[in-house]
Each structure stands twice: as C-alpha cells, then as structure tokens.
Subunit: 672 residues, 3 copies
C-alpha cells in the first residue's frame, strides 16, 4: 500500500489554491467532498511564492492549505515546487538557465527550465526540499512527496559540459578507452584532453535533434543528462528521506517520454507515478502499453496515475472531449493495469496562462452541474465502494516485452538503414498484437529477471548490453521462447558493432546469419510466404521497410520472402536451443502476421487469452490474497456480449454465469 | 478630399529616379504623361543617399526630382526615407539593429530593420523628418507626406526590454496588478522586480512564433511593439505637422497584416493608405474585406490605394500575371470600396536586387508598347474623365463586422482548443457570405459606434474588452441584430477567463450557456439540423472543427447537432433581447449555411443586396451630394447579363434601362 | 594516363587501417588481393593522429601502411588529412571553427568544418601537406595526391567577412562600382566604407538558405566562398607540387554539388575525381549527367570515380541495396562516360560512428563469403583483363549542354517569377531527353570552346556573362544549332537586368522579344500546339509553370500556346541566323515534347543515336587509337535484345553480328 493512512484507491489531483481567492476555497472543499476526492497535490509550481527572494521563505499559505484540506478529510500529495525556478533567481544567477540544443542561452520563461548541473539550482532545490521536509514531517495530512514535476529536457551549457567531462572520466577512466568507445579515429576526432570534449548539439556533432556524426558521444550525453536530472531528484529525495523516512517519495513520469531512462529512475523512487495524456487518435493499446511500462519500472509494483484530464487537454492539435463514460473507462484501464490511484490534472481550471483550456474537475463555470463533474463524482462513489479490495493486487504475466531507453536512443541516432524505423512504434506493434488477444504482458527493462516468463519479445534489440545475450540464452536453454526482429544484436552498449556477422551475440541462439539489410521506401512491399505451417501462421502476409537477407545456420525456416532478388530466402526463422525456441522476424510485418505470430508462440507455451471477448474489449487480471479480479473494459461505443463462467461484478454486485452484456464504454470487475 | 491641389483620383506610384541615370528621367516623364500619371512617390528608401554620414545631409537630388516632376504636372507623395537605416549607421550604432524572435542580434541588411526603441534610430529618423519638413514645406509639388514604409516586425533587444518594462509600469502601476493580469502564480512566474521581466520570444516564453506559455505577457508585448512602431510614426508625424500643418500625413499599411493594431494607427493618420497585393489564389472577397477594413480604420473616410502591381509580383510562390482587364478591375474594386487614389508599385522596374521581377508601369524593355503600359494608360484616361465626381463619396453600410487585432492575437496565442482556428479566416467566412450577396459591410473596430447599423457580426469575439458587452447589449436592446460564434465571450482584455460560464459577459444577451467545447480534426463532420425554419435556413448543413455544447437559457434553438453524443442539442440559437436579437453559431459551418444565415438576418432587418447579379459579380455603392454611384464589377472572365432599372454609366456615358451586359472583367459605375 | 605506374583501370577505395588492429591488416591484404584491388586511399581523416598537438607530428603508422600495401602490390592514393581539424586545434585556436548561416559560432564536431579563411587552418593545412610531400615524395607506392576531402560548406565568420571585403576590393576596386553592381540604391543600401559590408546570411540579407534581399552580394559571397575553399586546395597543391612535380593531384568532388563552382576547380586539378552516390530513386540519366559534367570540368579528360558504395549508403532516407549486378553496371557506367578508375568508399566497414551502416568491400562479418565481396572480386577480375585498353579513350560528342554554377546560383537566388524553377532539374530534363536517345553529350562550362559542336543546349541561360552572347552568335553564324529556353538572357554577371527587352543580349540571335513571363502553380497546364511540323514535332504537348509571352521579331513560330489569354501566341520559335539556327522554348514542356525536340534538332544536324536499343538501355562510346568502344548497359532487370552490325565484346571475347541479347543489368563493351 502506498500509504496506509488512505487505504483505498486515492482520488484527487493537482490543486492550486494559491491562484485563487480565499472565497473560492470553501467552494472547492464543498465540491471535492461531493466528488469523493480525498487527495490534493499541492505546491507544484509555487517556488516563487515560497521563496520571494534569496533570504526569505514563506510557507504560511501552504500551512493553511494543508491544514484546511486535512480538516476536511483531504490528504495532501506534497510537491516540492522545484520544477520552475523563480524569476529573481534567473536574473541573479543565470547559471540556472539552460542552453538549448541550438546553443542558445535561454532567458527566464516556461517551466522545467533549470540546468540540472547548475550549482545555484542544486543548492536552492535541495534547501527547499529540506525546509519542506523539516516543516511538514509530522503533519498527518501529508500522504506522499511529489518531487519537482515531469522532469525532462536537456541542457548544453558550460556547467553541463564540465560535468559531462567529469562524468566521462568517471565512466572511462582514461581518454584511450573513451576514444575507443566512441571510435574517434573515424573522421579524426581523437581527444587528447578532456577539455576538448564539448556537448553534442546543433553547434557540434548533432542536427535535427536525432541526427549525429558520432553515436558514441550522443548516446553518452543522453545517459549523462538523464543521470543529471536523476541526481537532482535524488538530492531532494535524500533530504526528504532524512526528515520523513516513512513517507513515500515519487515524481511524476510521462510514459514513453524519450529523454529519460525511466528504468534507472524507477529504481530510485518509492512508488512510480505518471501522467497519462492520450491524444484524440492514440490507440487504447498504446495507453495500455504505457501503463504496463510504468508498472514494469518497479517490476510489477502498483503505481500511481498522478495526472489525467477529466475531459480534454489543451496542447493537442485538436483537443477532443472524452466522450461520456470514457474518463471512467480510462481510469479503470489504469487500475486494471496496476494503478492504485486515480488522479487528475487538475481540480480547478486556471483562469489565465497556457493551460486554461485544459479540463478540470471544477470548470470555469464554477459549479457542480456539469457533465464532467457528474462523471467525476460518480466515479468517486465507485472508488469509495471498492475500498482497499484491489490495493497491491498484482498482474501475473507470462509474457514480457523488453523495452530499453539506451537501445531506443541508439536506434534513433543510427544513420541508416532507414529513417522510417521508430523503436517505440516497433515495440508497440508487438504489444498491440498481444493486447488484441488479451494476453497479459509485462514491459520489462534489461535488468529484469526473465526466468519467470514463458515468452519474451525483444523487438529491435539493436543494442545488446554486456551479459544480456547470456541471460537470454539461459532463458531459452531452460525452455523459454524468445522472439526478436531485424536490427537486433547489432551493437554493444557503446553503439560499436559486434563484428563477425549479424545478429552478433544472438547469432548462435537464433541459428542464423544476416548477411545484408535492405531498406526500401514504405510503399514497396514484399511478402512473408509461410513455408511450414506452424500454429496460426499460414499463407502469405505483407511486409515492408526493412528486409534482412538471412542464412539459416540451423534455424528452421518458417517463411520466405515472396519477391525481389531475395525471394525464396528466409524471412521468419525459429531455432531450437536447449529446451526452448528463438524466433527471428527479419522484416516489418503487417498486423495480421503479428496477430498470428503471437497466437502461435503463446499457444505453444500454453499462454492463453484471459477471456474470449469481441473486438475492442480489453481484459486484464489483477490478483491478491487468492482472488482474481478480471477487468473487462469495452472500448466500443456500443453494447457487446460475451460468456463468463462465473463471478461477481465488484462494481454492481451482480453475479454472472453465462452470457453477459456490457454497455458501450462500460467496465466490469469480476471477482473470481 | 485628401488634398485639394489634385481634385481627382490620384494616379501614379512609387518612383525611384535615384536608381537611374539622368538620361532615363526625360523618358520617364514622357511616359508618365502618356499614362495620365499625376503623382509620384519619392524618397522611400533614400536615407543612405540623403545622409551619407552622421554629419552630412544631401537633398539636392530630391530638390531636382520634385521640381522636375512638378514642372511636368506631376505631384509628389513625399516619403521620409526612414524605413531602412543606412549601413554606416548600423556599423556605428548597433542599437539600430534588431534582435529577432530567435534572440539573435541582426547585422545590416534588409529593410524595416530598425529597432523602434533604438535611441539612435529615433533621433535620426526624427531629424530626417525635420529636415524634409523644413526644406519642402512650401514646395507646391508636395501633395502628401508618406512616413517611412510598411511598418512592421518586432524587436527583442535590450532597449526594447527596458522600454517594455517602462510601458508595463505605465500600464499596471505596480507588479501586483501585473502579476494578477498575467496570472503569474501559474507555473510560479511571479515577478518581484520590473527588471525580472524579459521579452517573450524563443528564448523565454514563446516558440513557433505564435505559441506561448503566458498569453498575458505575449499579448502585452504585441501591443507594446505595435505601440513602439506607432511612436516612431508619431515622432515623424509631429515634426512634419509642425512644418506643414496643412499637408496630410500617411504611412502605407498592409491590410490584415498581423503585427500592428491598425485601428490604433488609423487614429493617428490624416488619411489611411495601404498596399494591396493579392496572390494568384486570393479570393476577391478577401481583397474586398481588406479594402473595407482599411476604410474602417477611419470610420469610413476614403483611403488611398498606395501600392498595387500593374502586372505581377515577385515574392509569391507563383507570380501570375494579372489577366488583361484585371488590373483595371481591381483598381476599380479599390475605388468602389472607398479608395480615392490608384497607385502602383512601381513606375519603373528596378534593374537589380530582389524586386526586379515585380511588375511596373515602365517595364525593363523601357518603352510604351507593352500590354501593361497600354492598360495603365487606358485606365489613366478613364480616371481623368472621372475628375472629382467620386472623391469623398461614402459607403452607407447597414451591416458591420467587428475586427480586432488584440482579439486576433489572443485567439492565435491560445493553447487549445484547436490549432485549426484562424481568426482572420473565420471573419472572412462571414464577410464572404455577405460579399456573395452584395450587401455592403463596414469592417469596424471595437471603438466604433455601432448604433448606426442594423446587423453586427462579431465572429470569434473571444476577447470582450471592458464596456464592450454593454455596448452590444444596448445595440440589441434598441433593435439591432447581433451575430456571434463559438469561442466568444471567453476572456477579458488580459486574456483572463470570465468565470461563471461561457460565453461570459455575453451570456445573458445570447440566452445560452456553453458548457463544453469539443474540438475534432477537420475530417470529422457534424450536422447543423434546422429545427425551426427561419428565413432561408432550412434542412441540414455540415459543420466541423469546433462544437460548443450549449444549453439554452431562454434563446430559441434554431438548429441542433445531427450526430455525436451531443446530437439533438442546440448548435444555432437566437435570443430576443429588448427590441433586437442575438444569434449564436456554435460551430464552424459550411458556406451554404453562412449564405443562408446572412440572408436570413439581413432580410429580417430589411437589409437588401444592392443589385441582383450573376455569381462572380461584385456590387458596391458610394454616394455623395445626393447621388449614388453603383459599381458593378464582373470577376468572371466571360460576359454576364443583369437587369438595371435606370442609370448612366460614368465610364461610357451609356444610359441603361433594362437588360445590361458586361464583359468579362468589365466594370460599370452607374450614377443614379 | 593518370599515372603510368598503374596502367589499368584503378580498382580500390578508401581504407582506414588506423581504425583497426594490426591483426586485421593481414586479413585486409589477403582479401584485397582476392578482389583484385590495387589502390587504397589512405590518410583521409587522420589529422589528429598525424599531429596530436601543435608541435608533434607522427607519421610512423602511415609509413607502415604505405609500405605494407606497396609490398603487397597495392598503390596508395595519398590524402592530406586536412578535411577535419583536430579537436585540440579547435580548442586552442577557435578561428578554425566556422560561423554558420544562422550566425552561430560552431564548436568542435563533424567534418569539412574549418573556416577557409582561418589563418590557423591555412597555416597548419599547408604545413601538413608540406610534411607529407617531403616525406613521401620518393615513395614508389604513392600514385596520386588526394587533397582534403569533399570540400564544401560556407562560413560567415569575422575572418571571412574581412577576407570578403578584400576580395571585393580586388574585384571592384572602388565602392562606386560595387554599389552599382549590387544596385545598392534599392532599399538605400549604399556602402560608404568597405567595413560596412557584412556577409549575407540569416542575420543580414538572406533567409531560408536561398532567399536574399540583394542578389548581388549573395552571388558574390558564393563566388568568394567557393574561391576561398579553392585557395585552401591550391595552398596544399602548390606545396605538394613543389615536392612532387610529377605526381598528379586531385580532390574528390561531388557532381552537381551546389556550393562550389567546379569549373573553376577543375582548372586547378591535374585530374578530376568525384564521389557518385545515387539515391534509391535517382534516375540513371541523372547519374550519367553528373559523370558527363565531371568529365566536362577538364574538357573531356578522363576522370576518376573516387568513391561509390559497393552495396548501400547510410545517409539516404531509405538505404536500399544495389541489386545483384547493379554495382558492376554502375561502375561501367562511370567508365563508359570517362572514368579511368573504379573506387569505393570504403574497403572495410567502420565499427562505430555515423558511417558504420555504409556498405564496404569487407563487411562487418569480416570474410569474403558475401554477395558484395563476390561481386567486387568478379569486377576486379574483369577490370584486370581490360588492362590499359580503355585508358585515356575519349568521348566524341557533337552535342553539348551548358552548365554554369554562377548562373545556377543567380537563378536560385531570384525572387520571382516562380519558386518551382530549379536550374539543375531544368538542365536535366534536356539531358534526359538526349540520354533517352543515346546521343553523346558534353556537359560544358561557359569557357568551353563550342565551335566543335553541332548542337548546343543552354537551358535557363538566365545569366549571360560578358562575351558569351557573341560566342554563341559566332557559333550559330557558322552553322551551329543553339537551343535555349524561358528565363534566358535576362541578366549580366552581376545579376543586373539587361535592359531593352528580354532575352537581352540573345534577342537578335533568337529573333524574338519576350514581353512578359507568366508563372502559374504546377497544376495549371497549357498546351504547345505545333503550328508548322518540323522533324518529329507534331500535334500538341503539355507545358506548365512558366509561360513567356513572345513576339517574333523574325523567328519562325514552330508552336503556339493552346489556351489562356496568350493562346495563339508563339511558344516555340526557331530563328535562322547566319548558317545556323537558334531555337527558343518559352515554357516548361513535358518529356514527350523534349524527346521530339532533341530528335528534331539532332537529326537536322546529322547527329544520330549511337545504336538502336530498347528502352532502359544506355549506350556510350569511347574511342582511342582508331578504335571505338561501344558500351551497352542494360538498366532493365530483364534481358533485352538488339541488333549490332559487328564487333567483339571486350568483356567476354564474343564476336557479334546480328541479334544480340543482354541480361538484366548486363554490360557489353563492343570494340569496333
Ligand atoms: Zn546546463
Ligand atoms: Zn529593440
Ligand atoms: Zn570563416
């Protein structure tokens, strides 16, 4: 349980009373109660209010808010306010300001705007956390610490440059090893002095954000910047922990956000929390994947849904409303995948600045007679009824998908073979196929123990880190099924090619040699022609973009290309290795193929869908204390029917046995 | 009359004899006379010639040109040459150079390139105007002053930053009020010292030119920069006025140009002038709207068409020629909508630099045997015949459309609900519907008296400034018809939301409450289903992009949505208020709907088309001394026919009574 | 012969042993021998290795490599390593770093990154060449000098600014002439002091890379930067020449690369070399045109194919493999058009950094059992058999196409009439028509003697330099056929319009006056209606984009426009002038028209296709010592047949007489 003080699914969200007059506060509390809200995130962006100048700290307003809420039964998720420095600090200490990718020193503005290696920022952020910890360590209303907010963005300033050099010296010890790791003899970039190294941005090695002349330095800079921000988090965390060893600490993450290696971050947090903002055209499977990824950061431990909008966003191109029922549906989707909280941004809509058209529980109209409020209050009632039933319940997946940020960076920094290759998209294709079958999946990092799984997918496992190939081999040796794809096994963790033939360290496991990689524009199609039917795989499928030219070195050839000069050569292979199997998908297949592939490999290992349901219906299972809770979520707008053997709906108390119908956007939680 | 010295429609344009040899000058004059040209704009870009260094002024060349032209019957529109500083000034006083949106200090180059808050620029620009005023104050050839040229562009330099702070202090008096107006507690941007405020650009609060974290500062910076350039205009104007209180002063504007609040500018000018450059695909209605807008800057007072091309432009993507007859047609379109001059850029095509492929009266071939010259000369003859008949004639519109630059800026700076919302396009849709019906329209600012109109349209009246809601209510109370749309009544002049329910201050007038605003991608369509037929409104229409979810609070529901979860809820409403009516259009309708809407509301108020004519024929009316002059302009390339009761064509002297035919691109001016 | 030491078609490529361990070197040599490789390009990017600090030079590694290769029968193409400065130099002497188009001072990174006017760069680059010349002047393994690498890119730093001013003073002598040439009175840009002139970039006169306010300064800056880099080349060349007067010197060019005036460069090189990198969708005719252009730089002298990929590239969007046979086919295409070498980038694939996915003779797998290696080795054997047969053989073209970089720059810098006008595309359209007919073409500069040709095409000869019109007139007077197009004869070499009527100096030769130029968006089509059938020209064709409105002043009107207001006016004309003819194409015609046009004008002059072959088959002829060598290259993937009177295939020894068949991607070299 995140905090035993509130033994239920937390319900609430960001709250900024400091933007409002005292007369609004009572109205807020009245409506929070109506809506069943029991947690409010305070102090997210109040640094300038808390510290109006270098010497002065002012927390009276915060004392008052925490007290007032607590007295009304509402706990505080207490933020540290360090996600945007005060204007006075930017003016007095310009080192807090970042230098951007274009090499431009920024001026005061925006948020998430502090250089992570700024001495000033680090000093004052730590002091702020220290003062907050000291002040509120014994307050009964404080449920959890929310450090900073949505960490992100990179800096390229001179302080970062200097810290980068120190970080590199720590990592490589000497320049000879660094030069080797970065292959600097290419284009004569050999460094003879640490000071010759400059951050890779648009003034030096990079362009267009994702293009670089030297993958080595670019990859290291991403790791370094992610680490630098993580250092900032840890600074605050450690000082808070000193004051309140028993209050959990989090910071809100952003799903598949590119710039931070969240697996490293997850390890440092007591509980993972994240902000879920699907766009009007985001597939449900993509949201589901992000929930599973967030759950994976701490190996399955329940997480917090820290933010979602009750209705609409403001920063999309087209900010569509969540249709009636959809906010509830998506809230349960989070819970269904491991969330133990349902929280919003935000509780009251702001009156000015750039987020004023972002939905809130209390809209600009200010009263409770709105569709959004009614839906919020109805959900609040339901969550109250659920009490602590689901808290800490775990998902038992037998299938995992590997996701790795450094691999992602390396893939996206690669010059060639195809600009169309997008790591997250490729991973999502496999996830979506499993999602479509309602097979539970863990999204795991490369440090995760994989022996507990039956099937592990590692799409585009381009970078194979030290020891990882052996871990996978042991897994397969012992009977596991491993599935990987084109552009895997190519490089080590420095983005240096593993010589001797692709897929490098995975070559004997997969029983193949990839001689060449063809890359064609998206409109050029080839075919995956099944040679030997296996499970659901039969006939012919389409494929495109990348085409490995493969020699079997022992693997069974499941399918061959249908055309081009490599027609009749292997495209899908399966190698028996020890007690297990290793599959290789040498191209970008269509969704039909992926559907049949995941069915085939899962069935082989006895991994089955959680329930047979119509298309568009999502099913997950959380279990606890010997009970299983089956979440059935209808993403269709119309009613559907399906069969269920037996069970009781937690939400309605209805007992089922046979044909069940579920409304459009409806949700059931069947206890078995 | 702009200047009684030349009591006819002025005919001429920009002339740069300083770019040519003496031997060309006589040829110029010979051809000007052939073409009926009687006014030449001199000295637009001659600062470097006039002032070769800090100490020296040299006007001999200008004396000679003004004299020479005057002796040949050609008046001078005398520019002040301050639209591009000399290279020596940029080198010696870099404060004249701007800092751009990206935060880059510019170097010498281009034009319209001076920082409006540069002490050097202000000093020397004023001195230049002073010397010109002093020198030519008694010259009989000088018809009008043309200050600078096409003011525009923003600067973000330190001088501007400092001036901005002073401007803000003037406006807000104290930081508390500023912090409140900008809602700086959002994201902790509270300012404790004026010096902490920096200009909002790509280094601070903005990106992509139109995106901002803080609408408040961004809006104020636009007002401030528009004001700063206006200060520069006023500096020159005042010193010229001192020398020549009776010579009118103008500067050439650019229609719907985004960066300057032309309603403020119009107030400071004796006569409005503007440069009309439609692209190959600009609708005629859009040009018409810009003419009407320019006329509206001074509440209907005739304006100057300062520039148009006789044939083609150079800076469009595809610089198509004006088809034979089109230059004449478009010249009369200007006159038809209030212009008392027809002037070109330029009289002779330049031999080098970036405008050499811009059309001119005298082309590179240098003689008069060109289509362009023949058409120019033919028009010159016609204008001479018209003499002073049309001068000062006014357009009597009973319909107005509100246009407001601050509202436009706020709308375009808004984050959400839809990136597809474009203020000028939305206004133009309503204008185009009225244009299609040949109903005269005034384009008015928010300071305009509206009691004189029958119908006032205010599309996307997002920002309702202090007092404006009352003005509109009084108008409707007294019997007027008011039409507004989605995204109206939302904010006050600081872009702070009017709390308590949209459309804010207009809510009781409109008799509705807008609970939510849905935004969908352009391909998603809904329907406007007419519930109660009114006037021409019947059946069903398409709509898209934005969809207000409306509750009637007394308004009659004219139409409802046809689909989506708000099917059957109001989309078009009409509220009776006092003696008048207030219409609300809750979505972006198709053109058929707008056509039927404007017909309906105009017919209700007895406002009728000026004449029944075929499609593609534009009709306006100017009146003076008891006579009405009906302009009939055929934008089709082929001949059309229509009925006219009686009248005489000013251009041919033909008298009409019954069926009339008009050639493709033809024009008639019927005196009644 | 490039160097008589190796009297055969050189075969090899870039080789970077310094990126590899000693143990790899023997394997490299073993495989080079297997592949018939006899030349390796060393030292391209080894500056940092050669000179680890300011004082130290270290060539031991290079001694060892050159020796080792030579002992194994492999010659060295010895690069000077100055294409990327060492990191220590950038740190110690920032003047070596460029300022980019955006005005940003760059930091260390990338390649081709040195300011050409940096005193430090010039000093150390010259010293490096001096040391290399001194050290290797007597080494028998050194075949040729390869100065720097792929010169390119512009710099806008203060050193460049100062050098630019000096360069301008040299060119114009005084500011009066410069002001006149740049037409600076336009927009008041008159310069009174050389120091007022700043480089034209995004901070001053230019934007978007190709847009400018002043074509004069922008054109001069391009010439100046091309000259500055050429100065760098000459510095190294001269010092090398001093040491080794008999070893040829080259630098590798890049075909139609925009930024350098390669005709000037060709004059300074002993032999032209270039890097041929077609994308997956580059037409064969475009590659052929670039080969012909490279041959034209030294008036037909054979050139070197310095780089091509054996398989795929890494920096295209989609890096497709060269299909089996295509590498051979394209290698012969180079030889067929004048190359006396076939060389690759590179011999061994790098293990890290941005080119590791670029194909190489030795792939990452490291052995010879790859398709790529097999094809490389097979070609090596063939080239060995060809011995010196083809060396120095020349192409005898009777048709030339004029290509001029300054004209290209001026065309692309032009503001108006159409953004769709692309000089290289327009030239290629004419080239492609001739290529389709297998008519030999020389791509020539404006300095070339044209009296030797029967037909000269000069598409978009916008800029007519001093004396060029007379040269063309003399050519036509003596019986030649000249073909030019719209937007020709417009300006002189300063981009100042030739007044008095387009096409300026070409007007009497062409017998026409172009009164106006219409420009329409690409979707707007007109027709070329043949009025008088001539040769293959008959019926009607489509045209678009630009439409000259033409008056014949003696020229015969071959075709007229089919529509728009200039329907029935001339579009294609032919003027008899002396013994010859001058054709004018007043629009952008479709490919059918161009095909018929080139057939017509060539047939008139007795210029015939080299052979009648099916579509997709390329034919060229090189001749030497009284023999003709007909290259027949099948770009189709399937077999084709054609007739040949007699001849022997150099590659197979087969003798032919009658019907011959040629495999898909097959090549024949018929000796006659
Ligand atoms: Zn930093
Ligand atoms: Zn400024
Ligand atoms: Zn430079």
């Amino acid at each position: 349980m995140i905090n035993e003080k509130l033994p239920k699914i937390w319900y609430g969200g960001d709250y900024n009373p400091e933007q409002w007059e005292k007369e609004d506060w009572d109205e807020d509390v009245r409506m929070f109660k109506l809506a069943g809200i029991d947690v409010a995130t305070l102090n997210v962006f109040s640094w300038a209010l808390n510290q109006p100048d270098e010497e002065t700290y002012n927390f009276a307003w915060l004392d008052e808010q925490i007290d007032r809420l607590y007295q009304n039964g509402i706990y505080t998720c207490l933020a540290t306010s360090t996600a945007a420095h005060p204007a006075w600090m930017a003016k007095k200490y310009p080192d807090v300001l970042r230098v951007d990718f274009q090499g431009r020193k920024r001026k005061f503005g925006g948020r998430h705007n502090s250089c992570p290696n700024s001495p000033t920022y680090r000093k004052y952020a730590e002091w702020m956390a220290d003062r907050l910890g000291e002040r509120y360590k014994d307050h009964p209303g404080v449920l959890i610490w929310h450090v900073s907010n949505e960490y992100g963005g990179y800096c390229y300033c001179d302080n970062c440059a200097q810290s980068f050099r120190e970080w590199l010296e720590e990592k490589y010890e000497n320049l000879e090893r660094l030069n080797k790791a970065w292959n600097t003899r290419f284009w004569g970039h050999t460094f003879y002095d640490w000071d010759e190294i400059v951050p890779p941005n648009a003034l030096s090695e990079e362009w267009n954000g994702d293009s670089t002349s030297f993958q080595g330095i670019s990859l290291d800079y991403r790791i370094f910047q992610s680490d630098s921000l993580l250092e900032c988090f840890k600074l605050e965390r450690d000082v808070l922990k000193k004051h309140t060893p028993n209050i959990p600490i989090t910071t809100n993450l952003m799903g598949t956000y590119k710039e931070l290696d969240y697996f490293k971050w997850g390890k440092e947090m007591d509980v993972v929390s994240w902000d879920n903002y699907p766009a009007y055209d985001t597939p449900e499977s993509f949201t589901a994947m992000r929930h599973d990824l967030m759950r994976g950061l701490k190996s399955g431990q329940p997480f917090m849904l820290m933010e979602q909008t009750p209705s609409q966003q403001n920063w999309q191109s087209y900010n569509s409303l969540k249709r009636p029922g959809v906010m509830r549906l998506w809230s349960y989707q989070a819970v269904a995948r491991g969330a133990d909280t349902v929280m919003f941004f935000q509780l009251r809509r702001s009156v000015g600045a750039c987020e004023k058209y972002h939905g809130a529980v209390i809209e600009h109209v200010g009263h409770e007679n709105t569709r959004v409020f009614r839906e919020t209050a109805a959900l609040g009632k339901e969550l109250a009824k659920l009490s602590d039933t689901l808290l800490d319940a775990r998902i038992q997946a037998k299938v995992a998908i590997v996701f790795d940020w450094e691999n992602r960076w390396a893939t996206e920094l690669s010059s060639g073979p195809s600009k169309a290759l997008d790591y997250v998209n490729e991973v999502h294709k496999y996830y979506a196929a499993l999602f479509g079958e309602n097979i539970s999946v863990d999204m795991i990092g490369v440090d995760e123990d994989i022996s507990k799984y039956e099937v592990v997918f590692a799409p585009v496992l381009y970078m194979v880190k030290t020891g990882y190939a052996n871990k996978v081999k042991e897994f397969v040796q012992n009977g596991g099924t491993f599935v990987t794809t084109f552009f895997s096994g190519i490089v080590n963790e420095h983005d240096l090619v593993t010589l001797g033939g692709y897929p490098g360290e995975l070559r004997d496991l997969l029983g193949i040699w990839v001689e060449e990689i063809d890359a064609l524009p998206p409109e050029e199609k080839n075919q995956i022609v099944v040679k030997k039917e296996a499970g659901s795989l039969t006939g012919s499928y389409e494929c495109s973009l990348l085409f490995d030219i493969i020699h079997s070195e022992g693997a069974e050839v499941l399918a061959e290309y249908g055309s081009d000069f490599y027609a009749g050569t292997p495209v899908i292979t399966c190698n028996s290795y020890g007690k297990g199997k290793a599959y290789y998908v040498g191209t970008c297949p269509d969704t039909e193929f992926l559907k049949d592939l995941v069915k085939t490999v899962c069935e082989e290992k006895g991994v089955k869908p959680l329930l047979n349901v119509p298309k568009g219906v999502e099913v997950t299972e959380r279990s606890k204390d010997g009970f299983a809770y089956l979440f059935i979520m209808n993403h269709n707008s119309s009613v559907i029917e399906f069969e269920i053997s037996e069970g009781t709906d937690l939400l309605t108390g209805d007992e089922f046995n046979g044909t069940v119908s579920l409304d459009g956007y409806g949700v059931m939680i069947i206890k078995k």
